[in-house]
């Protein structure tokens, strides 16, 4: 995207001769900062946090370290904040240090096909630039790579004219906290901003990030110095995504020609087999034959017309789908744990003092539950649309004002009850609280309690391909009676574990959700709208290249293959919800029937006693027999439903 914008700009500048000169990408973005998400103070702050957290998570995962990320937001003046993001990642080698934070479009992720959060390497340096522009302050970086080496410190700015870092100070830390640590990186940026609560606030974003990254541990210290923790729920890192070569069917002609021209010293045959996945010698020869190109000719020297016919031949040939080891899905079990922890567990504890973790069953869960109370509430708190409303009752009123985005975008785990005070410092063993949580039956993973009114399930679809790009869809569904029942369901959208917060209505995920027949799954749904019910739906797309509708990375484009996979996963979750709701209804009916029977046995016995002059003993015996008879018919009447469940 960056490259394209630059070209456009140069083009439009062409008529004014004499002043034509190259524009540094940093210069361009300095003037067009909204393109990078720095359009208003509140969004700028959030964007800085997002970029920092994304970088930290990517870095940790690549180094196979379980991420622990800390976000500290300090308010210096009314509209000036210091935002620090700290991780336990591998640290950054000295030679890259300045460029990573001080040069736009510098990164390891752009030129490869591998599932990762960031793609262009533009985010964090843009945050540095934004801070520098609004406050004139340099960014502070600390990084450490090995336990026995000193941590490096750096004060840097960006020279926007040159798109290059400008180092103001360099140093080493040998004392204090950093001396103890094994590795890690901290970036602190002073910037103009506004700390917002609510669905587009930092806490809501962190809760969403926690939802999609149960293997990470997050701590947020807000400007009021309140600590919010989102504990690690899974002790294993996600499967490492492998880098793959592009699939021939996912490459556009221009790119193809470019790649071919760059293939110095390679024959066409070599080029085809080296540059792309799933192209072997035999297939390459076949394609060459179709295009009338000699496999042995030099690739870069080929005539453009031949390049094009080669490209067309490639597109017309059936080629095996790309490998899918480039994907790192969350996994059904992890999704269930995440949803359960954030949407059910946290809130159950509000209600019952140290109540047992239903479904987890294990004694450890109960013990953990007691300790986890405060933390869980912090999570719920952050997750609530009105966020942090505990401390400030007026926050509820705020919610009404946010009319700009469609309500579908709202990050909403709304709870009807008011949250009690929380103690964020308490330690929690969330890991063991959710261990062995999910039940597996007939290939379905879920946790459910009809009694307590919750049901969590997840579906990971097998990988599929759109335009030669492998992708995988995962959907989690959490139904909990403690969530708001009379509001539209909340759809939490994620791409490569990154929350998508804006443009919900333009997103394929929302479209697929709306298109599912929710009425037949037991929820209400108006035409063309999300269904209504106490449900949080989590939709995740993992892909080497997520097709966003725009460079803002906020909505997934409507590719047929993607929509189809989304629908299949959502509908499977819906069907499971339907079965749960039916089971729940049936159990309620059962209870009702049982009490119903009890109620009317006595009058029957009494009437018989009156007319037939039975003794009390005979009447008692009659009542017992009646109960036996009725219990028998009750079982029979329950049978049709049971059949319905299995279909």
């Amino acid at each position: 995207m960056a490259a394209r914008t630059k070209k456009d700009d140069a083009g439009s500048a062409a008529p004014s001769k004499g002043q034509i000169r190259e524009i540094a990408v940093s210069e361009f973005f300095a003037k067009n900062r909204h393109l990078l998400g720095f359009d208003n103070p509140a969004k700028s702050l959030l964007t800085a946090v997002r970029e920092g957290v994304d970088n930290s998570l990517d870095a940790c995962e690549e180094a196979r370290i379980l991420p622990s990320v800390k976000v500290i937001i300090e308010q210096q003046t009314e509209n000036r904040f210091n935002v620090a993001i700290e991780d336990n990642g591998p640290g950054i080698p000295k030679q890259h240090l300045a460029n990573i934070f001080g040069k736009l479009l510098y990164g390891s992720k752009f030129h490869r096909l591998k599932q990762s959060r960031g793609q262009q390497g533009i985010g964090i340096s843009a945050a540095v630039m934004y801070g520098q522009m609004t406050t004139g302050k340099p960014a502070d970086v600390i990084t450490k790579m090995e336990k026995n080496r000193a941590a490096l410190t750096l004060k840097l700015q960006i020279d926007t004219k040159k798109n290059a870092p400008k180092i103001l100070a360099e140093g080493e830390l040998t004392k204090g906290e950093w001396a103890e640590r094994t590795s890690g990186t901290r970036i602190a940026i002073t910037m103009e901003g506004a700390y917002k609560e609510g669905r587009h606030g930092v806490l809501a974003y962190m809760a969403q990030t926690a939802l999609a990254n149960p293997h990470a541990d997050f701590t947020v210290i807000d400007p009021k110095k309140q600590v919010h923790r989102f504990p690690r729920l899974v002790g294993m890192l996600p499967v490492e995504a492998k880098e793959i070569k592009p699939h021939p069917h996912g490459v556009e002609l221009g790119t193809f020609i470019q790649l071919m021209s760059d293939a110095k010293g390679q024959t066409v045959l070599q080029f085809l087999t080296h540059a792309f996945s799933r192209v072997n010698d035999q297939l390459a020869k076949e394609v060459c034959a179709k295009a009338n190109v000699k496999p042995g000719s030099r690739a870069p020297d080929l005539d453009r017309g031949y390049m094009e016919s080669l490209y067309n031949a490639l597109q017309a040939t059936k080629i095996m789908a790309p490998p899918t080891n480039c994907l790192s899905p969350m996994g059904e079990e992890n999704i269930i744990k995440s949803l359960y922890w954030l949407c059910v567990q946290a809130q159950q504890w509000d209600e019952e003092e140290g109540g047992e973790a239903e479904g987890a069953g294990a004694a450890s869960a109960e013990a953990a539950a007691k300790g986890a109370k405060g933390v869980a509430q912090a999570a719920a708190l952050a997750a609530a649309a009105g966020a942090a409303k505990k401390a400030e009752p007026p926050a509820k009123g705020k919610k009404g004002k946010k009319g700009k985005e469609s309500p579908q975008a709202e990050f909403r785990f709304d709870v009807a009850a008011d949250e009690p005070a929380h103690k964020p410092e308490e330690k929690v063993d969330a890991l063991s609280a959710v261990r062995g949580l999910a039940t597996h039956e007939d290939g379905e993973s879920f946790i459910a309690s009809e009694e307590k009114g919750y049901f969590v399930t997840a579906v990971s679809r097998p990988p599929n391909v759109y335009r030669g790009n492998p992708f995988q869809i995962e959907v989690g569904l959490c139904y909990a009676t403690r969530l708001k029942a009379d509001a539209l369901i909340s759809v939490q959208r994620f791409a490569n574990r990154v929350p998508l917060q804006y443009q919900a209505s333009a997103c394929a995920m929302t479209k697929a959700t709306i298109s599912a027949p929710w009425k037949s799954y037991g929820l209400q749904q108006s035409k063309g709208a999300l269904p209504t019910g106490p449900v949080v739906l989590m939709v995740h797309m993992a892909s080497v290249w997520v097709p966003y509708t725009s460079e803002a990375k906020e909505a997934v484009a409507h590719y047929d293959e993607i929509l189809k996979e989304l629908r299949l996963a959502i509908m499977e979750c819906g069907r499971r919800l339907d079965r749960f709701l039916r089971r729940k209804r049936r159990e309620a009916d059962e209870a009702k029937k049982r009490s119903y029977i009890e109620k009317y046995l006595e009058p029957i016995g009494e009437a018989l006693r009156e007319v037939l002059s039975l003794t009390q003993g005979e009447k008692q015996k009659t009542l017992e027999n009646l109960k036996i008879i009725l219990e028998r018919t009750r079982d029979k009447s329950a049978a049709p439903d049971e059949r319905g469940r299995r279909e």
Binding site: K593, Y596, I597, K599, Y600, L601, E602, P603, I604, E606, A607, L608, E610, V611, L612, L614, K621, T622, N625, L626, I628, I629, L630, R632, T633, R634, S637
Partner: protein, 375 residues
């Protein structure tokens, strides 16, 4: 006070029938079998119309209420109601439907919440025992709706409820009021020289005829049915007509309800009361008007209303499902005519031609040719 209505032997039979039913249920329960209550199916689909017999005859269709979770409440209520009936018989008392409804408030959870519920259970019990020859009166249940009002050249002979003294009630001497038919009519005797009985649908038309002493002019007895005639009203008219040997003419609105519900029920009974139709209908009644043809003949088009959806449905139902209308081609033609005209006319539409047109022209003209009345 119920004395004189039900004989001691009837009472014995009633109690025996109740005990028999209860014993069957008790035996089933003891053997851990689900007990059943069997009653006739009271619906149009379970009646047959035979012109010679003259009424809707109950067929073999039966409804079984087997004890189950879904029926346990009604089952309990039915048994309690039977027990109530037994109590009424042994204490020689009676209960109206409303009384029974209030009695049920002592039954704990089995109490009725609304009277229609208790009425339905009572009708079920009545139908159930009708199969064994036990009537509602035997069960000591009496209706609380009145049975219509009567005016005209008729003397009704009743008994004083306390002394048992004979009382002669002169139905010409009610001034601007009228004689109210009691809910129990079996003991009444009659004296009259009237030539016919005119059963009128609406109280409004009855008032007009009564206030002008039309009964004197035409030498007849006027009965106001007030909509679909009650059992007591049907029974009263039946006994009066049969004991005095005079014809009965019905005068209702010209619409599917007046014809299909009011007149049909008067003449042959109803599906719902199928088990007692034999006694509670007036098979020799004929239909004076308003006939669909009258709308044309008397130029009433101006005074009509369009048939609404429910009216049409009623008419189609009558043609399709009602054995009475299926037995008479002239009635089918009349209903079809009505459907074709798509209008209905009330009795009082005749006021279009003057308030007394009905007395001075319409009825006299009609009565000149009673052969033309619809069956």
């Amino acid at each position: 006070m119920a004395k004189g209505r039900v004989s001691a032997s009837d009472d014995k039979a009633t109690v025996q029938a109740i005990v028999r039913s209860m014993t069957e249920i008790y035996d089933d329960v003891t053997k851990k079998r689900a007990p059943k209550l069997t009653m006739p199916l009271r619906a149009l689909s379970n009646v047959k119309y035979d012109k010679k017999l003259g009424y809707f005859e109950l067929q073999k269709g039966r409804k079984k209420r087997t004890l189950s979770v879904n029926t346990v409440r009604t089952f309990a209520q039915t048994l309690k109601m039977m027990s109530l009936s037994r109590d009424l018989v042994t204490s020689d008392d009676f209960a109206t439907k409303r009384d029974a409804y209030y009695q049920s408030k002592n039954w704990g959870d089995a109490r009725f919440n609304e009277q229609p519920e208790s009425d339905a259970v009572m009708d079920d019990i009545e139908a159930m025992f009708a199969l064994q020859g036990v009537t509602r009166e035997n069960l000591r249940f009496v209706p609380d709706q009145h049975g219509g009002t009567v005016a005209g050249a008729l003397t009704v002979i009743d008994f004083d409820l306390e002394s048992g003294e004979r009382i002669e009630i002169d139905c010409t001497r009610f001034g601007s009021g009228a004689y109210a038919v009691p809910s129990w009519v079996e003991h009444l005797e009659f004296k009259t020289k009237a030539k016919f009985i005119l059963c009128i649908e609406t109280q409004g038309m009855f008032q007009r005829l009564q206030s002008h002493k039309y009964w004197q002019k035409a030498n007849c007895i006027l009965v106001s049915m007030g909509g679909v005639p009650t059992r007591a009203c049907r029974r009263f008219v039946r006994r009066l007509a049969e004991s005095m040997g005079i014809p009965v003419y019905a005068f209702t609105d010209c619409d599917p309800y007046g014809i299909g519900n009011i007149y049909r029920t008067l003449k042959v009974g109803s599906g719902n009361a199928a088990h007692i139709n034999q006694f509670f209908c007036v098979p020799n009644a004929t239909f004076l008007g308003l006939m669909p043809q009258d709308i044309d003949d008397y130029g009433l088009a101006k005074a009509t209303h369009p048939l609404d959806e429910q009216d049409k449905k009623r008419a189609y139902d009558a043609l399709k499902n009602d054995p009475f209308f299926q037995a008479y081609v002239p009635w089918q033609e009349a209903l079809k005519k009505l459907l074709k005209m798509e209008v209905r006319a009330e009795q009082q539409a005749l006021s279009l031609h003057g308030l007394n047109f009905v007395m001075e022209e319409y009825l006299p003209e009609k009565l000149k040719n009673t052969k033309k009345f619809l069956p």
